[in-house]
């Protein structure tokens, strides 16, 4: 990675990263892609998040679905671990709770492929600093 020597360097890097993210998030362009985040804090991993992330990476590749799967920290829903967030281009992210391998399979087949809703959605219950 290039060195950040001034505030301008940091602003430039941030803007690049943000516009890349915006392209990935919005629908109908070459960069748009499904993004899946798996909650991998200690509580998530203890409940089996590692098996879920491994399954997602493998299953999505086998089924020819292009997606970015990444890990993230604790989403705060310890009672419903493992939790994953699925963000389809142009749509609001959806958080699913109690995701084991079977549930992950169902989410791919129903929500990701056909936009059908799957049980176990955790509704957003907090404000972020920007709203």
């Amino acid at each position: 990675m290039t060195k950040i020597k001034t505030l301008a360097d940091l602003v430039k890097l941030r803007d690049e990263l943000q516009s890349k993210q915006a392209l990935a998030d919005s629908a109908d362009n070459a960069e748009s892609i499904i993004q899946i985040k798996v909650g991998m804090g200690t509580s998530g991993i203890a409940s089996g998040a590692k098996a879920v992330i491994d399954f997602l990476v493998e299953a999505l590749e086998k089924r020819n679905i292009e997606a970015n799967v990444s890990q993230t920290g604790d989403m705060g829903y310890s009672y419903a671990e493992p939790t994953i967030e699925v963000k389809k281009p142009g749509k609001d992210p959806v958080v699913f709770g109690f995701v084991n391998v079977q549930k992950a399979d169902e989410i791919i087949e129903k929500y990701i492929k056909r936009d059908e809703l799957v049980e176990g959605i955790i509704p957003v219950n907090y404000h972020t600093i920007d709203n």
């Binding site: 990675m1 505030l7 940091l10 991993i45 993230t72 920290g73 705060g76 310890s78």
Partner: protein, 488 residues
């Protein structure tokens, strides 16, 4: 702004970014606050901003963070230190762990900001070795920040140098106290010393040292970015901003909750927490860990902030919140916390070392049905002595669970002492299992499930429990389909 009860400030990036990728953090305005401080603000400006924000230390005491920074900045020395207290030791608390695992860069950035404002070039994170994942992610984060030049020499092309190292704690509760923590980092025994001198004057290696908790630091970059006047609009008059709670115990939605100061316990437990498990009745909520107290139904509408919780006989602590239902015996709860403090007392001062042990013994007698009315008075007297005479925060607060349960659940203590009964049915020595002969059909299910063979009786005839051999495990009661087994 009123749609949801929660606002995520310290948890802003937690569960959003990949904690092992600095680019994710930068894309969410990461390190912008540090850049702004170094290039556009003087150290005094930064301290003023933090003071104006009203941010109070999230580790327990609630000391104003800006004031702490100011004191450290005014003490001159050739070397100063910034320390992050990540020695989260309260039973049931996991806020700091989650922040470090989910957003390690926020803590690094805030420590660098603190270093810039007080004139320190070295940062140390004291983290418990029991948090391997947090340690791993912090190490990755530090390496990445060094690689791009956000830690190290001449940050943002300025003359400001700052680097961070990790120090591991062996999980001693007393090391969450700042003087003990510093001694532990120096390689000495983790024992507290009398303040003053405060660490801001003479801390790590005798140099001025600023110690703050993980969550305090995690709030700093956002305060700098969005301004003190944004932050101090959230919360109550004397407690600004938000607080993260680790909601645990007999509540439906166990997890992390971040609410503005001034939110009521009822809102946290019943709205965000989804109420009590299995439709049972709420009995108490324990806040502040072993230093805190148990609050009851009458406190449910108290707005949570530093001062209100103290007034109610508990404290904010680092943010553990353990919910109890009707099946929890409050004498046992007090005993549980005392057991913890007895174990964790460093032994340096006698009120804490000996007094807590005696308190524990008194509680044990009461839970065995051997307590007297004098014991109840002795519990209270001794608690007050320990509080007044202990050296550090551990001993000064360790009797709080006893005092608050005595205040709020005196009836339950009386039941143990006078009637030799445990109303919640938790104290095993005070219960006996009985079979109601009329209800028993003689199905033998209980006799078969009893692990010690304490139940006898012929098929299709009423059975009998031998209370001498019975270990009171409750397996028979669970198995019985005819409600024939009761606890007396």
């Amino acid at each position: 702004m009123t749609k949801y009860k929660q606002i995520r400030i310290a948890l802003n990036n937690c569960g959003v970014i990949d904690p092992e990728n600095i680019e994710d953090y930068i894309a969410r305005d990461g390190y912008m606050a540090l850049g702004k401080c170094i290039t556009e603000m003087t150290p005094q400006d930064v301290i003023k901003e933090i003071k104006d924000s009203g941010l109070r230390g999230r580790g327990g005491g609630g000391f104003p963070a800006g004031l702490k920074w100011e004191i450290a900045s005014k003490n001159h020395a050739d070397q100063k230190y910034v320390v992050c207290n990540a020695d989260e030791g309260d039973p049931g608390a996991f806020m700091d762990r989650s922040v470090l695992e989910g957003d390690p860069h926020a803590v690094l950035e805030a420590m660098a900001i603190c270093g810039y404002s007080i004139g320190a070039t070295k940062g140390l994170i004291y983290i418990r070795a029991e948090y391997p994942l947090a340690i791993k992610r912090l190490k990755i984060a530090i390496d990445q920040a060094r690689e791009v030049g956000l830690l190290g020499k001449n940050i943002f092309g300025s003359k400001f140098d700052f680097d961070i190292e990790l120090r591991y704690g062996a999980g001693a509760f007393v090391c969450g106290e700042e003087t003990s923590l510093i001694h532990s980092m120096e390689g000495l025994r983790g024992e507290p010393t009398i303040k003053p001198p405060f660490p801001a004057e003479k801390g790590y290696l005798g140099k001025p040292t600023n110690v703050n908790n993980v969550e305090t630091y995690a709030s700093v970059p956002i305060i700098i970015r969005k301004g003190a006047s944004w932050f101090n609009k959230i919360g109550t008059e004397k407690s600004k901003g938000t607080k993260v709670f680790a909601l645990a115990g007999k509540v439906n939605n166990v997890g992390l909750v971040e609410v503005p100061m001034g939110t009521t316990l009822r809102e946290v437990i019943f709205e965000i927490g989804g109420g009590i498990q299995n439709g049972k009745k709420f009995k108490a909520v324990q806040t502040g860990g072993p230093s805190g107290g148990c609050l009851t139904e009458k406190h449910l509408d108290t707005p949570i902030d530093f001062d209100n919780l103290v007034a109610a006989g508990s404290m904010m602590g680092s943010g553990g919140m353990i919910v109890m239902d009707e099946d929890n015996c409050m004498v046992s709860v007090a005993k549980f916390y005392l057991d913890f403090t007895v174990e964790e007392s460093c032994g340096k001062c006698s009120p804490c070392r000996i007094g807590n042990k005696r308190l524990f013994e008194l509680l044990e007698r009461i839970t065995k049905g051997q307590g007297t009315m004098d014991d109840l008075q002795r519990l209270r007297n001794m608690s007050n002595v320990i509080k007044d005479t202990s050296l550090c925060g551990l001993g000064q607060t360790s009797p709080n669970p006893v005092l608050s349960t005595l205040d709020n659940f005196y009836d339950e203590y009386l039941a143990h002492v006078k009637d030799h009964k445990c109303p919640a049915g938790e104290c095993k020595d005070l219960m006996k299992y009985f079979i109601i002969a009329e209800n028993c059909v003689g199905c033998t299910a209980c006799a078969r499930v009893c692990p010690v063979g304490a139940i006898t009786g012929e098929k299709k005839e009423a059975h009998l429990i031998n209370s001498e051999t019975c270990i009171k495990c409750g397996a028979c009661m669970e198995r019985c389909k005819f409600d024939a087994i009761i606890i007396k």
